[in-house]
């Protein structure tokens, strides 16, 4: 099966290379950089190298192809409206107006309201599961919340449209309108489909992201930190508030950022419950539209040429937005891992 190794090759070492000088080639995967040349000591087959490099090349081609196809598809829209596509005017295909401004407002607004709902709830759930609930309860409950992540968005959308929306129209929205101070946020007729309902749906869909990532961040705070706080006489809550939460701050920030990325890009469930009216909403109970929901609704009806190109341009704006948020989130995740590695290594902060 294997090729015989030339024994002389095994004896040959290259003194010009020292440990730690790895160019990224050869050596044990993930281990220290090798002091020897891989091609001398490790018999390899060209087929395997082709497979690996082919995979990597294909991935790079996919990424570049994705960006190129979106950019070239949207070029017509941008040459028609200029950069004003991003903020000016309204989305009105009948009048030949194509602009992402109102949709951007809708996207940011729904995501923001969703985060206002999901961050306290998600943090409360994470703290309860990691710090307060007994182990036999926390395990199954955590699994149930993570199961929500596996539920297809279309099923959440169906449920929100046929079950949640009537409940909102009949009970929740009239109740919110009656609130003394917040009432002016919630005025106008209670239809059911609205910015608020879309935000609630987004909050439900991003909850597992927030909970799963914050739980691992909270669980990663060293026991020694908690013990130190307890030794100083802190109560159970003070240990959580002053030690565990600050220790997990970076991880929680990453969890929220990635949840924001997911909320920005969710399209199908939002399209089902937001009411699809591309205008700047005057209240949270008004119907609205987001970038994703507009793409879902406008694509089939768009006229070939400028219409289709404008929808693809919306996708381009959305792509840029989500990539920015996700890069930020990944940097946060990586920064947290790096810091923890330093701590485990015993280097005093």
């Amino acid at each position: 099966m294997t090729d015989p190794v030339d024994p002389s090759a095994l004896l040959t070492t290259d003194p010009s290379r020292r440990p730690g000088e790895g160019s990224g080639r050869g050596g044990p995967p993930g281990g220290p950089a090798p002091s020897w040349r891989k091609d001398r000591i490790l018999p390899s087959s060209p087929f395997y190298a082709i497979v690996r490099w082919g995979g990597a090349g294909l991935f790079a081609a996919l990424l570049i192809g994705l960006v190129i196809s979106i950019v070239s598809g949207s070029s017509q829209a941008f040459s028609h409206s200029g950069m004003g596509f991003l903020w000016s005017g309204t989305w009105n295909p009948a009048g030949g107006d194509y602009a992402a401004g109102t949709l951007l407002v809708g996207t940011v607004l729904t995501t923001f309201v969703a985060m206002v709902i999901v961050v306290p709830v998600g943090l409360g759930v994470s703290v309860s599961l990691t710090e307060l609930a007994p182990k036999w309860l926390a395990g199954p409950l955590g699994t149930v919340i993570e199961f929500l992540a596996a539920v297809p968005s279309i099923v959440v959308g169906l449920w929100a449209l046929l079950v949640l929306s009537p409940v909102f129209a009949a009970h929740v929205e009239p109740f919110l309108e009656g609130l003394p101070l917040l009432g002016h946020l919630f005025h106008g007729p209670a239809y059911g489909p609205s910015i608020l309902l879309a935000s609630v749906v987004l909050a439900i869909m991003t909850l597992p992201t927030v909970v799963t990532l914050s739980r691992s961040a909270l669980g990663g705070v060293p026991l020694a930190d908690r013990e130190a706080a307890m030794a100083l006489g802190a109560t159970h809550w003070e240990v959580i508030r002053r030690t565990v939460l600050p220790g997990a701050r970076a991880g929680i920030a990453a969890a929220i950022t990635l949840a924001v990325g997911r909320a920005l890009g969710e399209s199908i469930a939002v399209a089902m419950v937001i009411g699809n009216r591309p205008a700047v909403p005057h209240s949270l109970l008004a119907p609205g539209a987001t970038l994703g929901s507009a793409i879902v609704n406008q694509f089939a009806e768009s006229t070939p040429g400028l219409g289709t190109s404008s929808v693809i341009a919306l996708a381009g704006v959305l792509l840029l937005l989500t990539i920015l948020v996700n890069v930020f989130g990944q940097v946060l995740v990586r920064g947290r891992d790096a810091r923890r590695a330093v701590r485990v290594g015993g280097v005093p902060a």
């Binding site: 294997t2 015989p4 190794v5 790895g22 160019s23 990224g24 080639r25 050596g27 995967p29 993930g30 281990g31 490790l42 018999p43 390899s44 395997y48 690996r52 995979g55 990597a56 991935f59 996919l62 994705l66 196809s69 709830v121 998600g122 409360g124 759930v125 309860s128 307060l132 409950l141 149930v144 919340i145 199961f147 929500l148 596996a150 539920v151 297809p152 279309i154 099923v155 959308g157 169906l158 449209l161 046929l162 079950v163 909850l207 109560t235 159970h236 809550w237 997911r262 890009g265 399209s267 199908i268 793409i295 694509f299 996708a315 792509l319 989500t322 996700n326 890069v327 989130g329 990944q330």
Partner: protein, 311 residues
């Protein structure tokens, strides 16, 4: 601080029986002070405990608030869908609105075809990329890893537009192939990261042992790395497939008819005002939910079983 500690010393002296004088006065002051501190600590401890209780209750209230949607969603899907699902529902083709006796067979077959195409594409390529990341360190590997992480956060609707402009626009027709391509691209970054994580769990000593036997890199990768990583690879890929099956947005731009996939059928029927269509949507949602849940449970079960066998 220093005054206090000198008082403590004086107190110790006083308790040892040094008698009256300045030492005794100091000792009395220290005793008073200690009592004062105890008293204020007792009072503030009550307040601190109370705050803690209240905050803990607030946190615990979040638990049912967070769980309620999951429970309500699963309950209503089962309650509304169970009436629609029967053998005929699963094996009959859809009928036009108003004509009874329709099923979702085309959607089930279509979903299976799409996910099959996506798996045939994404599983091997995902493994190749993961092997690349496993074997190589340095900037290229780091940037591929980073972009895979970022790409798994790219909205599925954008992947759909990508598949539309690559396959549908070029060949001028909507097809299951284009849909499968879109779902495959969507699953690829998730699979790559899961595969690589699984490979990293294989002990470095085993890799070294394989190399020291004179095996080729490819042989070590196949017989040691892949074999050791198999539970994680299978579990991770099953989870990615579960996510791929449930995607709707990419199919919107690639599929010829909404009756060719379960998710798109739900989207189509849910937005119609006919109760019969909504009933079909609930039934399809139940079938889809059961399927996705089975995949998620299977992922855990397979990983567990293979792990046990490996020992």
């Amino acid at each position: 601080m220093s005054a206090f500690s000198s008082a403590e010393t004086a107190l110790a002296g006083a308790e040892a029986g040094a008698g009256a004088g300045p030492d005794a006065r100091l000792a009395q002051a220290a005793r008073d002070r200690r009592e004062l501190m105890r008293e204020s600590a007792r009072r503030s401890l009550g307040r601190r405990r109370m705050t803690g209780r209240v905050m803990q209750v607030i946190c615990l209230i979040a638990l049912p608030v967070g769980l309620a949607p999951v429970v309500a969603l699963v309950y209503t899907t089962i309650a509304n869908g169970a009436g629609a699902v029967n053998i005929g529902f699963l094996v009959h083709a859809p009928t036009p609105p108003g004509i009874p006796g329709g099923g979702i067979s085309t959607a089930i077959v279509g979903s299976a075809e799409i996910i099959g195409i996506a798996m045939a594409m994404a599983i091997p390529i995902g493994l190749f990329i993961a092997l690349f990341l496993f074997e190589r360190r340095g900037r290229i590997a780091a940037s591929i890893r980073f972009s895979a992480d970022v790409m798994s956060g790219v909205p599925s609707i954008i992947i759909g537009i990508f598949a539309y402009s690559v396959l549908v626009e070029t060949f001028h027709h909507f097809s299951n192939l284009a849909a499968g391509f879109a779902i495959g691209v969507l699953m690829l970054p998730i699979m790559v990261r899961a595969d690589e994580e699984a490979m990293r769990t294989v002990a470095l000593e085993l890799w070294e042992a394989g190399v020291s036997l004179g095996a080729r890199r490819s042989r070590v990768a196949r017989s040691i790395v892949l074999r050791g990583a198999l539970p994680g690879v299978v579990a991770g890929n099953l989870l990615a497939i579960a996510r791929g099956v449930g995607e709707t947005a990419p199919l919107l731009f690639t599929l010829a008819s909404p009756t060719f996939a379960m998710t798109l059928l739900i989207f189509n029927d849910a937005t119609q005002p006919f109760p019969a269509a909504q009933q079909t949507a609930w039934g399809t949602a139940l079938v889809l939910l059961v399927f996705v849940l089975t995949l998620s449970v299977a992922a855990r079960a397979v990983a567990w079983a293979l792990n046990r066998k490996a020992r």
